[in-house]
């Protein structure tokens, strides 16, 4: 998100989901929508089958969407900046870019041009393994399409240089005049149901709700007045920086609501050691998660079906969550627990109902200024929605970018933090499967889902499997510098040679024991998608 914010001025999906059907071409990279967002995948498939939309897939794995693609580019993991620059090289050199758009709506084009021209297709082929001719074809297809959309996800961002990847994607889209138009845009698909909302609400160490700067004096004064408290002046720590801070003794107490970092964070041993070192840990969740087991106090929370509120989806749509049933046992909704705790600590939080919280949000957060429960009854409203009369904004940057003009950030290729060597000859990538969600807290409690996907499976290419003497559905041992796990193996061409893929839903064989906690320097996002491992048949 930081990458998009730097390029455009705000970091969110620029276009609505429904726009995929209006695109002439879709460039899909670092995202496996049939497993992660099946309903969005379906809209893309319908666009392809019914409207003749052309699909370009750029992914090291042979994901299902490859079957619908016009062109499939299979780069080596961690080389995204290279092929992106390579495409721009072709587009600029052949004058396929949108000259008037670039002139009127963007800045810093010359710097981009200078950077991109270094990446000719033959050079790109050497680094990424993508045949030069394929790259040219993809560049032509994207640039010549009237309306072209780019969709990406964690395959782009979960790298030590994820912010660079995103900036590079933004460059490509702006270059072809695809930002701010129907059917186009730069569309990061958000994996968790309310990731967008959690960011919007300022559950971030460096910004206040609505991405309002913590260093802007007027903003700070506004919040201090509304909340009746002085605000802490310096930015806090990102989650990935919290673990080392705990181990260094700087953080002593922690309050975790609805997260399971012991399964979902990289380099788990490190996370677990940190959590165990805490003087005091409170976990608020619906199940006894791996993280909750380490807590001093566990608070039982209500599930999504047991409370009222709003979620904001990947396309910035604020939607009403309605309570269907009473919380089980003595569970309470999270907002109520926070109110109770706050009161006990001497600060009265006087909210009777979530709607009152949203009214406060609308007063303090300009992009949510027109969000009121009574307006959300049908399909919700897409922010920014500054006031009561505003209908919401399906497409961002229509007339101008949030920051005025779009900024080209020239980006250079950096090698992934950890690359294969003789000892750890394979690349490991992680992600989800269709039948589970995140750390499996919810989905692994559903009988049918668990019946289809009961255990963790490592996907490995047939060539590698043969080399290593691994049989289909036999046990394999995966080792990285940080740990080892044993799983079933599935031999499949979905994984390219030299790469294995493991989903992260399974606490009993947690792939994040292996992953690298190297971080993107700006977004503080970990490098889940690339780390070096050894793969051997399990003894």
């Amino acid at each position: 998100m930081a990458g998009l914010a730097a390029s455009f001025g705000s970091g969110a999906m620029t276009n609505p989901i429904a726009d995929f059907k209006k695109a002439d071409a879709i460039l899909l990279t670092g995202s496996n929508p049939t497993e992660n967002y099946p309903v969005i995948a379906l809209q893309m498939i319908k666009a392809i089958q019914e409207n003749g939309t052309k699909l370009i897939v750029v992914d090291p794995r042979e994901i299902e969407m490859v079957g619908y693609a016009e062109i499939w580019l299979r780069p080596r993991p961690g080389t995204d900046v290279v092929w992106l620059n390579g495409m721009m090289h072709v587009i600029i050199e052949e004058d396929l870019y949108d000259i008037s758009y670039v002139a009127e709506r963007t800045e810093n084009f010359m710097a981009l041009k200078e950077a991109a021209l270094k990446y000719d297709p033959e050079f790109v082929e050497r680094i990424t393994g993508i045949p030069a001719e394929d790259l040219r074809m993809a560049a032509h297809l994207y640039a010549k399409a009237g309306r072209a959309s780019i969709a990406y996800a964690m395959g782009i961002t979960q790298h030590a240089f994820g912010t660079d990847n995103v900036k590079s994607i933004a460059n490509l889209a702006m270059l072809c005049g695809n930002v701010g138009i129907e059917g186009g845009g730069v569309n990061p698909l958000r994996g968790q149901n309310n990731v967008q909302g959690a960011c919007d609400m300022g559950a971030l160490p460096n910004v206040l709700p609505g991405y309002q700067s913590i260093s802007d004096q007027d903003t700070v004064r506004k919040f201090e007045q509304a909340w009746g408290r002085k605000l802490p002046p310096k930015p806090g720590l990102a989650v990935t920086d919290m673990w080392p801070a705990i181990l260094e003794g700087k953080i002593k107490g922690m309050y975790i609501m609805g997260e399971n970092p012991v399964v979902s964070d990289p380099n788990l041993k490190h996370v677990e050691a940190a959590l165990k070192k805490l003087d005091f840990l409170v976990v608020q969740d619906i199940f006894m998660t791996e993280t909750a087991k380490l807590a001093h106090v566990v608070l039982p929370a209500a599930s999504f079906a047991e409370k009222d509120g709003t979620f904001t989806n990947t396309e910035r749509r604020v939607q009403r969550v309605n309570q269907g049933l009473e919380p089980v046992g003595d569970c309470r909704p999270d907002w109520k627990i926070i109110c109770n705790l706050s009161e006990k600590m001497g600060t009265f939080m006087n909210y009777k109902y979530p709607e009152e919280i949203m009214e406060e949000i609308a007063r303090l957060v300009p992009i949510y200024g027109g969000i009121h429960y009574e307006r959300l009854n049908s399909e919700g409203i897409q922010w920014p929605c500054p006031n009561w009369e505003h209908p919401g904004t399906p497409r961002l940057h229509s007339n101008q970018f949030t920051r005025g003009k779009g900024w080209f950030h020239p980006v250079e290729f950096i090698l992934p933090d950890e690359l294969p060597n003789d000892e750890y000859p394979f690349l490991l990538s992680t992600g989800r499967v269709l039948y589970h969600y995140n750390s499996g807290t919810m989905t692994r409690k559903v009988e049918g889902l668990n019946a289809i996907a009961p255990e963790v499976i490592t996907e490995i290419n047939p060539v590698d499997a043969e080399k290593k003497g691994i049989a289909d559905r036999s046990m394999v041992k995966i080792t990285s510098r940080r740990g080892e796990i044993t799983t079933l193996a599935r031999i499949t061409r979905r994984s390219p040679e030299g790469m294995v893929f493991i989903p992260f839903h399974f606490g009993e064989a947690a792939v994040n024991l292996l992953t690298n906690d190297a971080l993107d320097p700006i977004a503080r996002i970990p490098e889940f998608k690339v780390c070096a491992v050894a793969v051997e048949p399990a003894p």
């Binding site: 720590l237 700087k250 409170v282 608070l299 079906a305 046992g329 006990k344 919280i357």
Partner: protein
């Protein structure tokens, strides 16, 4: 584009050219039935039910595939159209095989959703199960102990091994609630309308309970010192303990029911006076308390007691004195109860004398068996001629009975066999042959309201409206039907409450709709045994009970109740006969709407296809398929293969095959499109009709797409998740997690109470304690090491409001910006 003008059923509408008649009708608000129609799909074998008449055309035309023409005049409800639709439905029915509603439920006098509550028990949702029971029966603690369980006599499990112990399971959940939160929701505030309920027995309690839940101020007038009626005064302690009755009544009164105790109709008030006191309706639930006389010589002698009177005295603590040799005369439950009470007293011999055979005995046969174990002797086919006084005892002259020649209706009555007289010496005779309502209150001169009665003494009330011959006076339970079971009285009370509501609000009672219930066979011998081929034999759980030699030493309860484990095991034996598609079945809906008559005799008797349970979420039952092809046409993944063969002249196939291939992503679109039970969700185990479902619109919790979903709720249970095809961003589409993944919400592993670690283990504590500990610890750390020594993780799974509060809490209450969430993960 120019609009075309057409007329549908007299209404004029303007639509675009190319619109089908079906869609045009929808814009006019005229609904034309269809099974097969999916917009923008060509249907290979149209179902044919959507036909309409178009002026100027000889043949009826299908509305779903006929485009409108300017000036078209359409009739969608003409006689011809309706006749044609009926024929389509008839044809479909002739191929349909299954049960709409489970036989247990159909047999239950209260029509309790038995399959539904068994499934909730099996899922561990005991309180939800109780809530479902209480929709029809507010006295489950008592009924769970004394019901003769009609339901179990029709349980199909009998065809596999043995029937389920349904009633024991009902008792289990009712007992469970005593120690946990009860299932009752608070009734709405009183509307101020007053209804008098005369009699605080099962019928009256039930009527008052449901009236209170409909917002009425219900007042029970009870002649006895305590509520409960026959439950308290007619059933002995060892079968139904007083403290259980007390608990039951406490639950009823919690609904806001008023009481006037010790008030006897005819002595303390009259119906007329109640009307004058402002009661807008009166419910008579006074039961049948008067013992029927034998009409023989010696009946009035000392030592001859009345059964009901005997039990009433036992219940009020005035234990009657009886001699060592006791004879109980009669074959009703009261006779057996009385005899069993006697064996618990200081006696040598208790014998029950009944003039017919065991088979004809109205008393519960199970109770007869238990009585025999306790030492009660039964003498059948024996009548009483007279009772005379002997030396320090009574002399009972008995006579053997034989059956008469059949009368004109084929009935054979017991008649004395001359010469078989015998005389027995007995110390106490207790008569319990039957009970009639006590209507002596009508004799009071100032009672101006006297409902008509039958010669037997029962009050006449309409079986639908429960109205007596008197305006505003309703009656139900034993006073109308004579002595019956508790559940029948409860049902009378509940239905009367509904009738009173209709009367007071001036609304019509819901028309007793003709129900079309498909069945695999009403009688056991009609049911195709192939249905149970795959069911492994697992015998039922036994009710733990105290041994006869121990239990006859006191009056304590005999049956001890199921444990949680036995209840779970027993409930899982349910075969789930009723159709899981009840709420979505268009076939049944249209058949009822078009009043299609389809005699049970013509229903299929044999299962044609095996039920396919291989898919993890979807059960395929081709026996219910009507070949509308919606499943195939709604599948976006070419995963559903539907084949028909041997088509008849009407275009219906004689052979069908439905297969889900490995392209399936389990999105469930086919199930939600299926208009019958041919495709059902494995997770839908509570059969409910569409009108019982509460729909809650919300947002899926599984990814950033934000699919709009509808929770189909029954009470506090999610029956299933569906999606509205007209609503974005998903327009009816969902993925496997969205449609099938909400089971976690009521998973038994959910955290239910705050936990605090003490050493290795967690201890359950209350909220106050937990919150205090957290607050104190946080403040301590903050004071000692500064606010930045605390950190908070918010959640991408929580709502905006919660994320907002979390960061506000960290920034203002704690005073740090150390707040983040796992967005990057």
């Amino acid at each position: 584009m120019a609009k075309l003008e057409i007329k549908i059923d007299g209404q004029t509408v303007w639509v675009d050219s190319g619109t089908t008649i079906l869609d045009a009708a929808r814009t006019a608000g005229v609904s034309i039935p269809t099974f097969c129609y999916i917009p923008n799909k060509t249907i290979e074998h149209p179902c044919g039910i959507c036909v309409v008449e178009v002026e100027g055309r000889e043949e009826l035309v299908p509305a779903c595939s006929t485009a409108v023409e300017d000036g078209m005049v359409v009739a969608s409800q003409s006689k011809r159209v309706i006749e044609s639709r009926k024929q389509v439905l008839q044809r479909m029915l002739s191929q349909h095989y299954g049960d709409c509603i489970a036989p247990c439920s159909l047999t239950c006098p209260a029509h309790i959703n038995i399959q539904g509550y068994l499934s909730l028990i099996a899922r561990g949702e005991f309180i939800e199960a109780l809530r479902l029971i209480k929709e029809k029966n507010p006295l489950p603690l008592s009924v769970g102990r004394v019901c003769p369980h009609f339901c179990e006599t029709r349980c199909r499990r009998m065809l596999v091994d043995e029937c389920l112990s349904i009633n024991h399971l009902k008792r289990f959940v009712a007992d469970f609630a005593i120690h946990h939160k009860d299932a009752d929701v608070l009734p709405p505030p009183s509307s101020g309308h007053k209804v008098a309920v005369i009699g605080g027995g099962p019928a009256g309690l039930s009527a008052a309970y449901y009236l209170a839940h409909m917002g009425y101020e219900a007042t029970i007038f009870e002649a006895m010192p305590q509520l409960g009626g026959m439950l308290r005064y007619g059933i002995p302690e060892f079968r139904l303990p007083r403290k259980i009755v007390d608990k039951e009544i406490e639950n009823i009164l919690r609904a806001g029911v008023q009481t006037r105790m010790g008030q006897r109709l005819g002595a303390d008030y009259t119906i007329k006076s109640l009307k004058e006191d402002g009661f807008e309706a009166i419910f008579l639930g006074i039961g049948a308390w008067q013992n029927q006389q034998l009409g023989i010589e010696g009946e009035d002698l000392d030592g001859v007691l009345s059964g009901p009177e005997f039990l009433k005295n036992m219940a009020t603590g005035r234990r009657p004195s009886i001699g060592p040799r006791v004879a109980v005369i009669g074959g009703i439950d009261t006779a057996v109860d009385t005899a069993r009470a006697c064996v618990r007293m200081d006696v040598d011999e208790v014998v029950v004398i009944y003039q017919r055979s065991m088979m004809e005995m109205p008393a519960s046969h199970r109770e007869v068996k238990e009585a025999e174990k306790e030492g009660v002797r039964f003498v059948f086919m024996t009548g009483i001629s007279n009772i005379t006084k002997g030396k320090g005892c009574l002399k009972l002259e008995t006579v053997r009975m034989k059956l008469s020649e059949p009368d004109e209706r084929g009935r054979r009555r017991p008649i004395p066999d001359p010469g078989s007289e015998e005389t027995r010496e007995i110390d106490t005779v207790i008569v319990a042959t039957g009970q009639v309502p006590d209507i002596s209150w009508m004799e009071r001169p100032d009672e101006g309201v006297k409902p008509h009665v039958l010669p037997g003494g029962t009050i006449i009330a309409s079986p639908q409206t429960f109205q007596t011959s008197e305006e505003g006076v309703f009656a139900g339970g034993d006073v109308v039907r004579g002595p019956r079971t508790v559940i029948q009285a409860i049902t009378g009370g509940r239905k009367a409450a509904g009738a009173i509501h209709a009367y007071l609000t001036g609304t019509a009672l819901p028309h007793p709709k003709r129900q079309l219930n498909f069945t695999k066979g009403k009688k056991f011998e009609d049911v195709d045994l192939h249905n149970f081929e795959d069911v492994p034999i697992r015998l039922g759980e036994k009710m733990p009970a105290r041994a006869p030699e121990r239990r006859t030493r006191d009056f304590d309860e005999i049956e001890l109740g199921f444990t949680e484990e036995t209840a779970l095991r027993e409930s899982k034996r349910c075969l789930e006969c009723g159709c899981a598609a009840l709420s979505k079945c268009k076939l049944r809906e249209f058949c009822i709407e078009y009043e299609v008559k389809f005699p049970i005799a013509k229903m299929l008797k044999r299962r044609q296809y095996e039920i396919d349970r291989r898919h993890p979420f979807i059960i395929i039952d081709p026996n219910k398929c009507i070949f509308c092809q919606r499943c195939r046409n709604s599948c976006e993944y070419e995963a559903l293969e539907l084949e028909g063969a041997n088509f008849d002249k009407d275009g219906l196939p004689k052979r069908i095959s439905i297969t889900i291939n490995d392209k399936c992503v389990s999105c469930g679109a086919c199930v939600d499109n299926c208009p019958t039970g041919a495709l059902v969700k494995e997770s839908v185990t509570i059969p409910v009709s569409a009108s019982e479902i509460r729909k809650v619109k919300t947002v899926c919790t599984f990814c950033g797409c934000g699919c709009s979903i509808t929770l189909n709720m029954k009470g506090d249970s999610i029956v299933e998740v569906t999606a509205d095809p007209n609503e974005g961003p998903n327009f009816g589409n969902l993925c496997v997690k969205g449609r099938f993944g909400t089971g976690f919400v009521r998973h038994p592993d959910r955290l239910k109470t705050p936990l605090v670690r003490k050493g290795e283990y967690f201890w359950e504590v209350g909220w106050e304690e937990a919150i205090s500990i957290v607050a104190q610890k946080f403040l301590e750390i903050k004071d000692k090491s500064g606010p930045d020594s605390l950190a908070g993780l918010s959640s991408a799974k929580c709502t905006n409001e919660e994320n907002y509060l979390m960061q506000k809490f960290m920034r203002t209450v704690v005073g740090t910006n150390n707040v983040d969430h796992c967005a990057r993960l």
